[in-house]
Amino acid sequence: MTLHGVILFHTTSSVLRAEKRLIKEGFATRLVPTPRQFSSDCGIALRFDWNDHERITSMLGEEKVEFDAIHFLDANPV
């Protein structure tokens, strides 16, 4: 089973901007509704393969892509 992580952003525009950059780098991503356990924001977050999380975190940092937080996405949240 693929384990996923999720990146939260403050705005829809930031999610889409980050998604484009991650896709360009070849990462598999998917836009999902923002998980309620992490945020009260409306809208969407960026889901990714947790195996990529270190590479993605360093890429976001290097390219100064603004984001709110990165979380491990438990398949069976309480």
């Binding site: 705005t11 525009s13 509704p33 009260s40 409306c42 969407i44 977050a45």
Partner: protein, 382 residues
């Protein structure tokens, strides 16, 4: 019919623009940024992609610095009312549209000091005259890129150098020039750029925007409208994030999709070619009208120093009669009167009667201009 009122709004629109608008409502009809389902995401993507195209079009690197508004007037109000505080000094030109003049007069009543630089009777502005008016409290200079009455281009880059030396900001209204003159905000020194979608950008009415240069600190701009953004929904305070800080309420999705299609259409067509075509038409109009001794043409009469907007009056005749007869008898559509720019008409000496304005566009042909001039000749001789 010969439509020569492109400076008011462009018509017809490219079929691609209409198709993009119906497509988005049929296939991507969710509320962007509010929900997480596929229709909402599809809508958000169209808006983001258009933001990106606009940022490239005007030469800013961050697409989030493109703020969508209803039109250029809304964008100008956002910039002026968001930045200017009581005690600030603002400078503008005497060729401005009421989209600039009215918010400035409104701000004047709230303690902002306004100076208006007098332009020459052909609409030209000497950048040094701006320099003479700059003071220590000058916060902003606002000006059109080109006059909507006579088409005269104002020296934006020269003014930018003076404005920046004084530590002030430059806001430019490109309603008349975007889409017909290649534009790079960074090269021109524009800090804030207000555009509208429905003129030569080929989009529909109801969509425009403010583009904020990459180096401008947005903390100095207050939002004009506050409300729901889909972001930071736990808070009752307006968020500081771009573009949400300035974009409350549901976006004009169909308008944005149409504008995006307009920009792509322009790119395919080539702005340089459009610019050259309009110069040819402008030259034909000026030369054709000059042949009538009773006609007075306003502006520089030089297509190199103006866009294709030609204003004229006829000795002893009302402009309203000329415009009405051109429409009724020859199907030539012009715009007569003051063109929402009383200051500009005072500057060129045509206030309060106004002028007949002819503004060809990308779809206007040389044959259209030839027929229009013949029609004008017949109207003024009978």
């Amino acid at each position: 019919m010969i439509y020569l009122d492109q400076a008011a709004t462009s018509w017809p629109k490219p079929p691609e623009v209409l198709k993009a608008m119906t497509d988005v409502l049929e296939n991507a009809g969710g509320n962007p940024g509010r929900s997480g389902h596929r229709l909402s995401i599809a809508a958000a993507r169209i808006i983001y992609d258009t933001r990106e195209e606009i940022s490239r079009f005007f030469g800013v690197s961050d697409p989030l610095r493109v703020i969508f508004t209803g039109n250029a007037t809304h964008a100008i109000n956002l910039a002026l009312k968001g930045i200017l505080k009581p005690g600030d000094h603002v400078i503008t030109s005497s060729m401005e549209h009421n989209a600039v003049m009215r918010p400035l007069r409104n701000l004047e009543k709230r303690g902002i000091r306004l100076s208006i630089v007098q332009c020459a009777s052909n609409g030209t502005l000497d950048a040094k005259d701006i320099g003479r008016m700059v003071a220590s409290d000058t916060r902003l200079v606002v000006m059109a890129h080109a006059s909507n009455v006579v088409g005269t281009l104002l020296p934006v880059a020269e003014v930018a150098a003076i404005v920046h030396q004084a530590g002030a900001l430059l806001l430019v209204d490109v309603a008349q020039t975007a889409g017909i003159i290649p534009m790079d905000m960074t090269a021109m020194g524009i800090d804030l750029l207000a555009f509208t979608g429905h003129k030569e950008l080929q989009g529909p009415p109801g969509i425009g925007g403010l583009v904020i240069a990459d180096h401008i600190d947005i903390a100095q701009i207050d939002p004009l409208i506050c409300g729901g953004t889909g972001s930071r929904s736990e808070s009752e305070e307006q968020p500081d994030d771009l573009p949400d800080k300035f974009e409350s309420g549901t976006a004009n999705l169909a308008g944005i999709a149409g504008l995006g299609a307009g920009l792509r259409w322009l790119k395919d067509r080539g702005i340089e070619e459009i610019c050259a075509h309009l110069k040819t038409l402008s030259r034909m109009l000026i030369d054709g009208l000059s042949a009538f001794p009773e006609v007075k043409i306003y502006g520089t009469l030089d297509p190199a120093r103006s866009i294709a907007v030609v204003s004229f009056t006829v000795a002893g005749r009302h402009v309203s009669e000329i415009g009405f007869r051109l429409d009724e008898e020859y199907g030539v559509l012009s715009r007569v009167g003051l063109h929402c720019a009383p200051a500009a008409h005072k500057t060129i000496g045509s206030f309060p009667e106004g002028t007949v304005r002819l503004a060809p566009g990308v779809f206007t042909t040389t044959e259209d201009i030839r027929l229009a001039i013949r029609a004008i000749g017949r109207v003024i001789r009978s």
